[in-house]
């Protein structure tokens, strides 16, 4: 591991990482909404376009995050998307939130915290 990655990463990088993971969590929702519309209709292109836009912003900023953070730590933070996905699924798509999903999220969260703090 190089010296840059040994250092504790700053809060700004961490905030950017979670901002792009928030964007990334919408990609699946937009794709589902796109396929709820008729294929190649205006609604399809609107939501598929939003998915591509969010994915593009995510890809651009992900590369900047990787400059300042070990890959394993950054990648493991992606697990938080399961919590966001559950929320957007319930709020936008009308999916049900079960106790198992809540319990699973409650177990994922300290796991992410442990991986992040392992770099300190």
């Amino acid at each position: 591991m190089d010296n840059k990655n040994k250092k504790k990463f700053d809060i700004k990088t961490f905030a950017v990482l979670h901002f792009i993971l928030l964007l990334y969590s919408f990609v699946g929702v937009f794709m589902k909404l796109a396929f709820k519309n008729e294929f190649l209709s205006l609604g399809f292109f609107l939501f598929a376009g939003l998915a591509v836009l969010f994915l593009g912003i995510y890809a651009l900023l992900w590369q900047q995050v990787l400059k300042k953070m070990p890959l394993t730590v950054a990648f493991t933070n992606k697990a938080i998307c399961i919590v966001w996905g559950m929320l957007w699924g319930a709020l936008i798509l009308g999916d049900t939130i079960t106790w198992y999903k809540i319990l699973g999220s409650l177990i994922v969260f300290p796991g992410v915290v442990l991986v992040v703090s392992s770099n300190e």
Binding site: L71, V73, S105
Partner: protein, 130 residues
Amino acid sequence: MNNGNLVIIFSCVFLCSVLISSISQILLKKSADRIYDSRIKEYLNPPVIIAYGMFFCSMMITMYCYKYVDVSAGPILESAGYIFVGVLGYIFLKERFTKKKVIGMILILLGIVIFSLGGEIFNFVTGIFS
């Protein structure tokens, strides 16, 4: 071919797709650790272009696999990426496995399994004791 076999085959294809995506992450990190003359070259260089090509292929393969693989099994199969990236990161990036990191990853995997299959696990356990 019966449906059960197709599910197993496409679950394996799904895992291969996750591996492709994980390898693409290693390429991205390798590229991110290098110093470039300009911001545009940080993105327009062979490793990044190849990595995003692989990432795109992986997404397409994954989407196709959902034709046969149950949606609830998707997050579990995708979580193999944490193991792949961890192992590949150790081999190619010399990112160490600390005790904290390993416990954290185990918690994440456990959480994803409960998140996706909690109902089935509960029914299985109560079935044993009833």
